[in-house]
């Protein structure tokens, strides 16, 4: 999966209504899709994206309602405004899809991603890695005499930034969860 380097849409919230519908500017949107957690539902969603040539920049999915068997799929996608509208409409057609929320449009959101970084090294490099990890409030979740595994939580940009810093310090492996997101405030 590509690093999240797409520029956010410059206009946000209510200003979305003022966008030029024919704009060719590529925007990044975070979509939350609530689905029945039944066999094949993820394949339906992913198949829609591949079949119609849409992008998936990040994808997370897990059941959040064990009694009702509902899962929340968070997709970060990118496209022109008309493509984004089309993606949402197409998602809405899938029978087990309950709700499609465009969090980017609906209001301010909290977006978080968790990542694990394996960093190898000795001496000063090792100390520097640990110091930077502290600045990023990364936890050390595994350590040997020659390696650390850091756990970082934050926006995709923060995770990107941490990866950039770790690279010269002996970054060996990265595992990222993809974005989970919720709208801010008390409204659902």
């Amino acid at each position: 999966m590509s690093a999240l380097k797409i520029k956010k849409g410059t206009s946000r919230h209510s200003a979305y209504d003022l966008r030029d519908p024919n704009s060719t500017v590529i925007e990044s949107h975070t979509l939350a899709v609530v689905v029945d957690n039944e066999a094949g539902v993820l394949a339906r969603v992913i198949g829609l994206f591949s079949g119609r040539g849409y992008n998936i920049d990040s994808l997370t999915v897990a059941e959040f309602d064990h009694l009702g068997h509902r899962s929340r799929i968070t997709i970060v996608t990118s496209g022109t405004p008309s493509v984004i509208e089309q993606i949402k409409a197409q998602l809405g057609r899938i029978i087990p899809v309950h709700e499609v929320h465009d969090l980017t449009v609906e209001g301010p959101t909290v977006e978080r991603e968790l990542a694990l970084f394996k960093v190898g090294g000795k001496g000063d490099q090792r100390v520097e890695a640990l110091r930077l990890a502290d600045i990023f409030r990364a936890n050390v979740v595994d350590s040997t005499l020659e390696s650390f595994v850091f756990e970082v939580t934050g926006t995709p940009e923060k995770v990107d930034a941490f990866a950039e810093l770790m690279r010269p310090l002996g970054l060996l492996e990265v595992a990222r969860t993809g974005v989970a997101a919720l709208g801010r405030g008390g409204v659902v």
Binding site: G40, A43, S82, E85, Q86, A89, R93, P96
Partner: protein, 584 residues
Amino acid sequence: MKKSMTGARMVVQALIDQGVDVVFGYPGGAVLPIYDEIFQQNQIRHVLVRHEQAAVHAAEGYARSTGKPGVCLVTSGPGATNAVTGLTDALMDSIPIVVLTGQVPTFMIGNDAFQEADTVGITRPCTKHNWLVKETDLLSGVIHEAFHVAKSGRPGPVLVDIPKDVQFANGTYTTKDKVNMRHYQPRMHGDAEIIAELADAIGRAERPILYTGGGVINSGDRATELLRELAELTGFPVTSTLMGLGAYPASGKQWLGMLGMHGRYEANLAMHGCDLMINIGARFDDRITGRVQDFSPGSKKAHIDIDPSSINKVIRVDMPIIGDVAHVLEALIAAWKAKGAKLQHEGLAKWWKKIDDWRAIDCLKFTQKGAVIKPQYALSRLEELTKDHDRYITTEVGQHQMWAAQYLNFNDPNRWMTSGGLGTMGYGFPASIGVQMAHPDALVINVAGEASWLMNMQEMGTAMQFRLPVKQFIMNNERLGMVRQWQELLHGERYSHSWSESLPDFVKLAEAFGAKGIRCSDPASLDDAIIEMLEYPGPVIFDCLVEKHENCFPMIPSGEAHNKMLLGAASTKDAIGTKGAVMV
């Protein structure tokens, strides 16, 4: 009362409860228990097709001509994969069908068992929804859900995959009324504010057009009535897509004919020049729009569609109305009346004057001369000799399909079955079988080209076995006519593989199946030959030898705007630019 029964019995019971009277299918190992149940009952007729693709097209023909879902039953593996073309066809044209497939037993799934295929995986993108049922207790509920999904909202094909052990096991039958689709509730009523806006726009329009599509027919008879009422009340001109023919009667005085790539001159120019376009149940398909950037540049556009994803997909519209055609038209007519039923009579009169000038071009005119039958002439005669019959027409795909749409007139919905979106050669013959099953006493004609017809010719066996007197009207030009036409226009007249070599003798072929074969090559004897076909009580293959190099006009070259129509052979030189050549 809870009833316990085997999965196989459940399938048959659920079909009966859904009011199914005909199933098109083909048996095989993984559906044997269901076939055993079919053997032991008399409420459902089973039509044994000769290929699973034909089962699906037959079900489509049945569905399109009745408004009820068509049902297929096929086995696992190859049975299911053969159904894929039909499923895709039904998805593109929004035809409600329910396909039941057998599957290897649950404990063998994933083992590459004999005749195993990942049916739900393969058919996921070509169904509206599909299910793999792993517990017998769930089976009848899923089948009822499947019918609901197929019929409601924007109709489409659904598939239920049933492993063999699920068919054998006992379970509890769930009745139809117990099925709850929870959140799946297609929106029927349109937004009242936008409907009011459209009602105002109708009152202001000086150059309006009603652009109707298959959605009117899918919405049902009420939608057709309301469309005719709206046209009558406003006096607006009406055009239709290929899929919508018959919703507004071809005999109606406001009828402009079909629009699009091979549509009529007056219809396409009216679309290009209108100031208010009301799209009713159509989807701005690329055969309709031509070059999107130049599509009807000066008009306000309203779009009535039950599928939100159709809105703004191709053409941005000013008044999007998401809802069922009948519901929306009802509200629209009421809103327009409530606002005083305003119309711009003077402007409309000028608009009609302009349209009449375009009509006077008579873009479908042709001259039948010489000893060879022109395809247009063949269809004109077919129209003349069959128009007073209780008639249903199916077609294959290609030039003959366009000529049929141009020269046959449809005054009622559900009378015209054709593969519009997918363009499936081989659709028409099995579709005619499905139509005839639904309307045993009607005249069912499949207008075909010889190449398309050969793609599902095995269905002669089905027609004979079930005594279905379908008439196969093959316009034989020994060419893949539409391919040949494009090669002539686009590829320097290099006719790469577009001729039909080694054709069978269609008369002998008919006789080999025990049907009647008629050949006609002489314009003077065409009427008699058609009458002979109509009078024969069984299936007929009519081999109508037509002009081999006739092109289908009028034509909007691909990649061009509506007002760049070609009217005839003289205007075709270099008509399609290099950009257009990339398009299909």
